[in-house]
Amino acid sequence: MSADLDPVIHSQARLRIMTTLTALPAGDRLTFPRLQQLLDATAGNLSTHLRKLEDAGYVEVVKSFRGRVPSTEVGATRDGRRAFEDYLAALQALLTPPAAPAARTDPEADRSATSPQEER
């Protein structure tokens, strides 16, 4: 069932992260604490999932200094946005299966019933 779904995104945690980052306009980033707050997640757990997304090239993690205070910002990359759109399209396809998918499951009983409809 989930063969078509990108395994990097197909986890509740990473799906929520990607949803959060792609809900912002392209090019926008969130600081790590704000992302943590929007997801209500622990820092360590969030870091683990961000690393997987970063390894896949879906998010970029930018570390810098504001004065002397280190700051980490996270944003979805262009590839990440595309992968997320593809994931949503695949999900949508799973939720709206093609018409009459059950026609093949019971050839004896269904063929006579569905064939005339299919010819229309």
Partner: protein, 231 residues
């Protein structure tokens, strides 16, 4: 991929994120809920801003109106002090709200919001300079009453209309147009009634705007788009 039960933290507060996939419908629901949460948490709440300013205008201009007439029991100085205090409350609530909603954001949105902040701040500084200058150059109370009510309303109306046009928000555009019309009506009604017009049409218009936004939010809770819809 398996769910990791050890990641589930029953304690309140931040927890490890639920991991592993769920069925497609649950995943789609997760996307819709999280997207709505992010949009709600990072965008200004129009109901709050219009509500606060609507109330401030209704009460503030309402104080000034009877202060224009004799025997109202309220001195002009006290009325203007009350009006100023209400405007200050509006500014503080707006600044705190926008700062909270924008916290942690960077990139084009942040730059956009900062420019908008400067737009409001600078235009109202110029309005304050104009009022001060007129006051110092001996403008009559009648002239001051009209200018100090109509000019700020004109700036608000124009900025709302421009903002509505840029963001594609027809509600905000319409509200701005209404404020401009109210400002014109206030100006034409003259010094005796300008404060009444600004209180009722201006403040009332903003409060109705807040109400309409509220109804829009509550009647279509899933303005958060369905997964797969263009974002």
């Amino acid at each position: 991929m398996q769910a990791h039960p050890e990641n589930v933290d029953p304690a309140d507060g931040p927890a490890d994120l639920a991991d592993g996939p769920a069925d497609p419908a649950a995943m789609a629901a997760l996307v819709a809920a999280q997207r709505a949460h992010v949009v709600r948490s990072t965008n200004p709440d129009a109901r709050l801003l219009y509500g606060v300013w609507g109330a401030a205008w209704l009460v503030g201009f309402g104080l000034l109106w009877p202060a224009d007439r004799s025997g109202s029991g309220l001195t002009v100085g006290a009325a203007y002090a009350g009006f100023g205090a209400l405007m200050l409350v509006g500014v503080v609530v707006t600044a705190v709200h926008l700062t909270r909603r924008s916290s942690g954001l960077s990139g084009s949105s942040k730059a956009q919001r900062q420019m908008l902040g400067w737009t409001w701040g600078l235009s109202f500084s110029a309005v304050a300079a104009l009022n001060t200058s007129l006051g110092m150059s001996g403008a009559s109370d009648q002239v001051m009453a009209v200018v100090t009510s109509v000019v700020p309303a004109l700036v608000v109306g124009a900025l709302y209309m421009a903002g509505g046009a840029v963001w594609g928000d027809s509600m905000q555009f319409g509200l701005g147009a209404w404020i401009c019309v109210a400002a014109a009506a206030g100006a034409l009604s003259g010094p005796a009634h300008v404060h009444l017009v600004m209180a009722v049409a201006g403040g009332g218009g903003l409060l109705i705007g807040a109400l309409v936004y509220h109804l829009r939010v509550t009647r279509s809770p899933s303005r958060a788009r369905r997964p797969g819809a263009p974002s």
